[in-house]
């Protein structure tokens, strides 16, 4: 057998493992990775003692969460949930409305000035880098505590992304239909209204609904920085360590998000389904 190993090793050396250079680079890569891992673990203080203490603390918290209880101020909790959903709805509605003209501006079909479009896209991307919570904190300072700051934060954070998606939807439009309108003697505006809008509107609506779903999740936490909604309630209860109420709120949040997902998913399917049934 060993004789055949030698023959094969001579004939196909690569089959018996990597070359020295490959082994070296691989080792180097692993060493660098492990060094980085050790360094960050040390830096962020991942000591067994700290982890153990934290986990036992977490265990105590989880035990105290059971059974979840609405507490005495359950009206406030319900109000917070309603506020979160309302913030998400209004924020999404406003950004979806404003994003339509912006989308047309950003779309290559409509605006042909490349430089302008390029810079608009960059600005869109820049907005995307800022988390909603940062916007919320800034708006709390600007217009005061309360849900209005949350609505504005959702509006600002989403508008760029939605406008970008809308621009893409408009670019994907079939040109034949608007060309048809113009060929039939329609104006440029009529071409937009009858040629482009019917094609993109269901897509835009579906995307807005999708954003509504994700905003319901984020609206639930904007209250942590004082921008209204259920987040405020949860932060306060964590501060005073009413863990059973925290658990109740988390469960309520999960249920609310689930219900909104379900409703919006149904409507979205209907929209896309309707689009599918339209003769092309």
């Amino acid at each position: 057998m060993s004789a055949s190993i030698e023959t094969w090793r001579a004939r196909l050396p690569a089959a018996f493992g990597a070359t020295r250079a490959q082994v070296m680079t691989r080792r180097l890569g692993w060493t660098a990775f492990l060094l980085w891992l050790a360094a960050v673990l040390w830096w962020f203080d991942f000591t067994p003692v700290r982890l153990w203490n934290g986990l036992s603390g977490l265990g105590v918290i989880i035990v105290m969460m059971i059974p979840p209880s609405p507490g005495e101020l359950w009206v406030e909790i319900l109000k917070g949930i309603a506020e979160s959903v309302a913030m998400a709805f209004l924020g999404t509605f406003l950004s979806a409305t404003v994003a339509i003209p912006l989308g047309f501006l950003g779309a290559g079909n409509v605006v042909t000035a490349t430089l302008l479009r390029f810079s608009i896209r960059r600005v869109f991307d820049g907005f995307r880098g800022v988390d909603q919570l940062i916007w919320a904190l800034a708006f709390v300072r600007a217009v005061g505590l309360g849900p209005l700051a949350g609505v504005l934060a959702i509006f600002t954070a989403d508008i760029a992304v939605l406008a970008k998606l809308y621009a893409e939807a408009i670019e994907n439009v079939e040109r034949r239909q608007s060309e048809g309108v113009i060929a039939a003697g329609g104006s440029k505006l009529a071409a937009l209204r009858f040629g482009v809008l019917p094609q993109v509107l269901p897509v835009m609506l579906a995307q807005a609904l999708y954003f509504f779903e994700s905003n319901t999740r984020s609206a639930a936490i904007l209250g942590v920085v004082g921008a209204g909604g259920i987040g405020l309630q949860i932060a306060e209860r964590i501060r005073v360590r009413h863990w059973d109420e925290v658990a109740f709120i988390i469960i309520l949040m999960i249920i609310t998000v689930g219900v909104i997902d379900w409703i919006s998913g149904k409507v979205r399917r209907k929209l896309i389904g309707e689009r599918g049934r339209q003769p092309v």
Binding site: M1, S4, I5, T7, W8, R9, R11, L12, A15
Partner: protein
């Protein structure tokens, strides 16, 4: 000796394999023929225990295969290697590793998970590949190979398991005639040279007649014929399937064709 005793498999209402009993001596090459849906595939998959039998028993040299669990079951699977119509190689891995998969059950779990195969195992895999003229392709990705080459890699993998039995489920249905011949020759070679029992599902009667010592014809989950190729006359085929041989081929070809596209 492989003994199958009133083996049955039901899928809901449908009975795919119905009370099949066969006794296959070691070293025999058996062709199982029948239309698509006759239960040939299910029969072979039950022998390897990829599909669980609903009732009946499988015995190999007196050991009850149907009762095996865990490590013992995996050991049995190693001893009865399986070859598939779609080759079932890991397309993104190189040919050598695909062949080495046949050794997985022979080695410790941790080194298997890490992919650390020994030099002896590599040499053994290359030898198995070389037997089918594929040693030079050992380091290519499996999906760069033609169908015929892939099926031969699958046979090399099967040999790596050092099996006693080889189960081949429509091994040539996705291949052109030239490659089909190469693969069938390879199967005959392992049967004759290594003395392995080979059970091969075929939809082509001529191939079965040419290569097999014994032919088992199935229809609707039952064994309708069991004998030598000479005994399977044209009248016999008409008697079992109600059509003549040419029509039978046409229907069988039709049934396996849609699966061809998957091979790409």
């Amino acid at each position: 000796m492989l003994q199958i005793q009133s083996l049955t498999r039901r899928f809901g209402e449908r009975t795919a394999v119905n009370e099949v009993s066969l006794s296959i001596p070691a070293g025999q090459m058996v062709g199982v023929i029948g239309r698509s849906g006759a239960g040939k595939s299910t029969l072979l998959r039950m022998l390897n225990r990829l599909t669980e039998p609903s009732s009946g028993r499988i015995l190999h040299d007196g050991m009850d295969v149907t009762a095996l669990k865990g490590q013992a079951l995996r050991d049995w699977r190693t001893r009865c290697a399986m070859i598939f119509q779609q080759f079932n190689l890991v397309q993104r891995l190189d040919v050598l590793t695909n062949v080495l998969v046949g050794r997985l059950n022979h080695r410790p779990l941790i080194s298997s998970l890490l992919g650390r195969f020994t030099a002896a195992e590599r040499a053994m895999a290359l030898e198995a590949l070389d037997r089918f003229d594929l040693a030079d392709q050992a380091l290519q990705r499996a999906d760069t190979l033609s169908g015929g080459q892939q099926q031969r890699v699958a046979i090399a993998r099967a040999l790596m398991q050092q099996p006693r039995v080889i189960l081949a489920d429509e091994p040539i249905a996705s291949l052109d005639p030239r490659n089909a011949k190469v693969v069938m020759d390879a199967l005959r070679d392992v049967n004759k040279r290594d003395g392995l029992t080979v059970l091969v599902n075929l939809h082509h009667l001529d191939t079965a007649r040419e290569y097999c010592d014994r032919i088992v014809a199935m229809q609707a989950g039952r064994v309708m014929f069991d004998g030598t190729p000479a005994e399977l006359t044209a009248e016999k085929v008409r008697e079992i399937y109600g059509v003549d041989e040419a029509e039978f081929h046409e229907q069988a070809e039709e049934a396996v064709r849609p699966k061809h596209t998957v091979a790409a």
